[in-house]
Amino acid sequence: MSMSVRVVHNGVEGLARDMAALPARSVRDMKAKTREAGIVGNTLARDYARVSSGRHGKLYPRAFTHDESTYVGGFGAAFSTEYGPEAGRPQGNMEFEWGSRNQKPHLDLNRSADIMGPSFAQEVRALPDEWFW
């Protein structure tokens, strides 16, 4: 009978290695997660808009776009994503989101954000676990 034991040694060197990689990795991961959130949120909002826009707003869902920006500098880092109808596109400036005097609020972006807000927060909270695995 033979027996082998494999010892995995997680020492300070491992931690040091993870931490050295952290600045680059965290920026890359945060940027990717933020971008993903913009894409998913925009898709969701556009799908809602497709249902709610109706005959007079046929082009409105196609005006939905997303855009990301990243700042990494001396004061820290900021990652942001923005999505919704782009005013420059056909029907992109229709007053559908909050409605108007003659138009009920459609809340396409709001319904999307209600879902994306908590799930984006959860994704971001999960990142540090991956960094130190």
């Binding site: 909050w98 409605g99 108007s100 005097r101 009920k104 609020p105 809340l107 709001n110 319904r111 209600d114 879902i115 807000g117 908590p118 799930s119």
Partner: protein, 139 residues
Amino acid sequence: MSATPQQQFDAIKAAIDTALQAAPGTAPADRKAYDFDNVPTTRPSAYVALDLSRRYIEGFRKGGPHPSRGGRLVTRYVAKHIDDVRELQRRVWLAIEDKALTTTDGSLVGPFRFETPISIDTDDGWASGADSWTFTNAR
């Protein structure tokens, strides 16, 4: 106890109606809130249109699922004159902001938290703006 969506709507409408008609002020007694789809065809010279919907909320608490349902209310102020729009707005704020309202079955709807302002625009001789509110205990 849990009120129906209709009972909740009625409670919100009643609170806003009361505020719209309350003295002191210049508001005539016929100023009212209506469901968005239920504004009289001959539009009153000043009124509030309501849109009530449920809203997805995540289980924010670690201890388990969130005990309440979320809701969103959009109050749209419409009037011939922009000053009246601001007066409607002021009265609606007084009526619902951070308040929980009692429905006819004794349960609460609210409190209503201010979410977003939608600025006042004029078109076709009408002025109109809106506010959106989120609340809990929606049905």
